[in-house]
């Protein structure tokens, strides 16, 4: 459809005429612009909503798989130590196996750098052998561990992970207690340095923008890319996502929560429980980063909206001008006919069906008017 606008300037000047100043023109153009813009906005909003959901789902998917992989790797770290310890504790404890045990322990120290100390307790909970990475070995101290919660828990659960503690108020450690398959094998206590978990978390971080970290059952930080936070014994238990995760019975499967990181930035946090340690792994992404593609696409969708608005205004203006012209002529003729000049000839050049028809209908009731529409 093409618009021919002869004498546009004159027409624009005539916009000051009563009909243009009146409500019809304004109503017509407003309606036109609103119709087009509503369509554009609805389309834009729907598109953004779809994209937002898609983006959110994809972030959740990625974070969930990352947190699951982190949880599995840390569980593997613990499991690896369990496996190594298992074969040193499969025989009943007796003094004549001291040398065998010592030999196994040397191998264990070599194999698992995270183990810092090993204590062999007999079935009554008396210390028979203490081997350390840093101190001299002690044989047969008979120190009583029978009331120690670790010894008791190991006898009932076979494998028990003790609480995390911080040496010199800084480096995180934990004791793994393992009972032999037979009760007379006693219990082996292994002190484990948790700093190596830092490597697992850092490797995970290298492949993503977000932050991975691990907290213990109390919500205290055990591993984080920024090891300084760990060595300062940072408490994460006040974070909303940590609170939520600690209370979540189904956290064995990765879940996603919204919260704030320790710098109080809003984040999307995926978490998963690390069994059997009862720790929690988190992968956190600041919302600003997570939704950056969304904001970009939001901004981009504003461009067609603005362009659409402009086109709507211009085409509305032109259409209205074309429509107002015949109406204006009709109005002038009507005044002349009303004044008694029945030979007056109305000349309207238009291909617009509506105006043409309207004029024809008008002509039918007013003989003497000649149309050339």
């Amino acid at each position: 459809m093409t618009f021919r606008v002869p004498g546009l300037r004159a027409k624009l000047q005539s916009l000051t005429s009563p009909i243009y100043r009146g409500g019809l023109f304004r109503k017509y153009i407003t309606l036109f612009v609103i119709t087009i813009c509503v369509a554009l906005i609805l389309n834009g909003v729907f598109g953004i909503w779809l994209f937002y959901n898609e983006q959110r789902q994809s972030i959740i998917r990625i974070q969930s798989s990352q947190v699951q992989s982190a949880a599995e790797k840390i569980a593997q770290f613990a499991n690896g130590i369990e496996v190594e310890l298992d074969w040193t504790i499969n025989l009943p404890w007796s003094p004549d196996m001291l040398d065998d045990l010592r030999f196994d322990a040397q191998r264990l120290f070599r194999q698992v750098p995270a183990i810092t100390e090993l204590i062999q307790l007999d079935s009554t909970g008396r210390e028979q052998l203490r081997l350390s990475r840093t101190a001299m070995d002690t044989v047969g101290s008979q120190k009583d561990f029978s009331d120690d919660p670790l010894f008791i828990a190991a006898l009932t659960d076979k494998v028990h992970y003790g609480p995390v503690y911080y040496r010199e108020e800084s480096e995180p450690f934990m004791i793994l207690a393992m009972a032999g398959r037979r009760r007379d094998a006693g219990v082996l206590l292994a002190e484990i340095n948790l700093k190596p978990i830092w490597n697992i978390v850092s490797q995970l971080d290298a492949r993503q923008h977000g932050q991975a970290y691990v907290v213990d059952a109390q919500g205290r930080l055990i591993a984080h890319r920024d090891i300084s936070l760990v060595l300062r014994k940072t408490d994460f238990s006040h974070l909303a996502q940590v609170k939520l995760a600690r209370g979540d019975a189904y956290a064995a499967m990765p879940q996603v929560a919204e919260g704030e990181d320790i710098q109080s930035r809003p984040v999307l946090a995926a978490y998963a429980r690390i069994e059997p340690l009862r720790w929690l792994a988190f992968v956190e992404l600041p919302k600003s980063e997570a939704y950056a593609p969304l904001y970009r696409s939001l901004f981009l969708s504003l461009i067609p909206l603005a362009a659409g608005f402009l086109v709507a205004v211009i085409s509305g203006l032109l259409l209205t001008l074309r429509m107002i012209d015949p109406i204006e002529k009709l109005r002038a003729s009507a005044i002349r006919i009303g004044g008694g000049d029945l030979n007056h000839r109305i000349s309207i050049k238009t291909r617009d069906g509506i105006v043409g028809r309207g004029v024809q209908q008008h002509g039918r009731t007013t003989p003497g008017i000649v149309f050339n529409a």
């Binding site: 840093t134 001299m136 070995d137 108020e169 090891i227 060595l231």
Partner: protein
């Protein structure tokens, strides 16, 4: 450059700090003299350096000159006790680094030595008595020997020229040698290893560079790891992190290193148990 320095600079390079291009490095050598340390520190303040890297024993002297320029110590025996930092977790001032605090390995070294020499009766302990950390280690080794019922002969030195007379004085008084590492002994480790072999003294220490020089064995924190880690702390500081916010770290890896060539020369059989434990074996 010592091997520790190479480890440090290599890690720094890996982190994007290339000397002459992204970072300028000023090297100074204090020759083990405290007044020289203060002079160097004053010069560094004039140069307005961004960070000073040193070992633990020089930190106090530097701290007296500046409380603003960050100081990283690559290794310190007792940073809290010496007053270098307020605590390991929160150093507080302008100093941070790596600590071997509360890790007394002298007993462990003697224990390993006894696996090789079950009949060990007399032990010689050599160290620089002008260096406080060595004096402390000599005391620890002496205490450990007493626990094991081993007699001790002290070989006190202060400079390189004291080493030969010290070995002469030990003749016939010891079955093995424990060397406390410091700059003087480190720099003369080849001479120490040669003299020890000639005197038929199996030698242990805390530093694997002695084993590569020909001593029998060493057990200690992986010092190269610590120097690499120190480079990472320097990287953090150059990128704007305040030293007060960087906790002092402790080593996590301890290596047993054996020299089987030396064992053979000494006519010693290294037991299976030690071979199973060794992180590195020189054959």
């Amino acid at each position: 450059m010592p091997i520790t320095g190479i480890a440090f600079f290599r890690r720094l390079h890996e982190l994007g700090w290339e000397e002459g291009r992204t970072v300028a490095i000023e090297y100074r050598w204090a020759e083990g003299r405290n007044e020289r340390i203060a002079e160097i520190a004053a010069e560094f303040v004039r140069l307005d350096v961004k960070v000073i890297v040193t070992t633990g024993d020089a930190v106090l002297a530097i701290k007296q000159v500046t409380t603003v320029i960050p100081i990283v110590f690559q290794i310190a025996t007792d940073p809290v006790g010496m007053g270098l930092v307020a605590s390991l977790a929160r150093p507080g001032g302008n100093v941070t680094g790596l600590s071997i605090q509360s890790i007394d390995l002298a007993g462990k070294r003697l224990e390993f030595l006894r696996h090789v020499l079950p009949d060990l009766r007399r032990l010689a302990i050599m160290g620089n008595v002008g260096y406080p950390a060595s004096v402390e280690e000599m005391g620890q080794a002496q205490a450990a020997a007493r626990t094991l019922g081993v007699e001790v002969a002290m070989a006190e030195i202060r400079r390189a020229e004291d080493i030969v007379p010290a070995f002469e004085a030990l003749r016939g008084r010891a079955d093995a040698l424990y060397v406390c590492s410091d700059t003087v002994t480190n720099n003369n480790r080849v001479q120490i290893a040669t003299l020890a072999l000639a005197a038929h003294l199996p030698t242990t220490s805390g530093h694997q560079i002695y084993v590569t020089a020909g001593c029998l064995m060493s057990y200690g924190a992986n010092v190269l790891d610590m120097y690499r880690r120190a480079a990472e702390l320097v990287d953090k500081i150059l990128r704007g992190v305040k030293p007060a916010a960087i906790p002092v770290e402790q080593p996590t890896t301890f290596d047993l290193v054996l020299n089987l060539i030396t064992a053979k020369k000494l006519g010693i059989t290294v037991p299976r148990m030690l071979l199973a434990r060794a992180n590195e074996v020189i054959e």
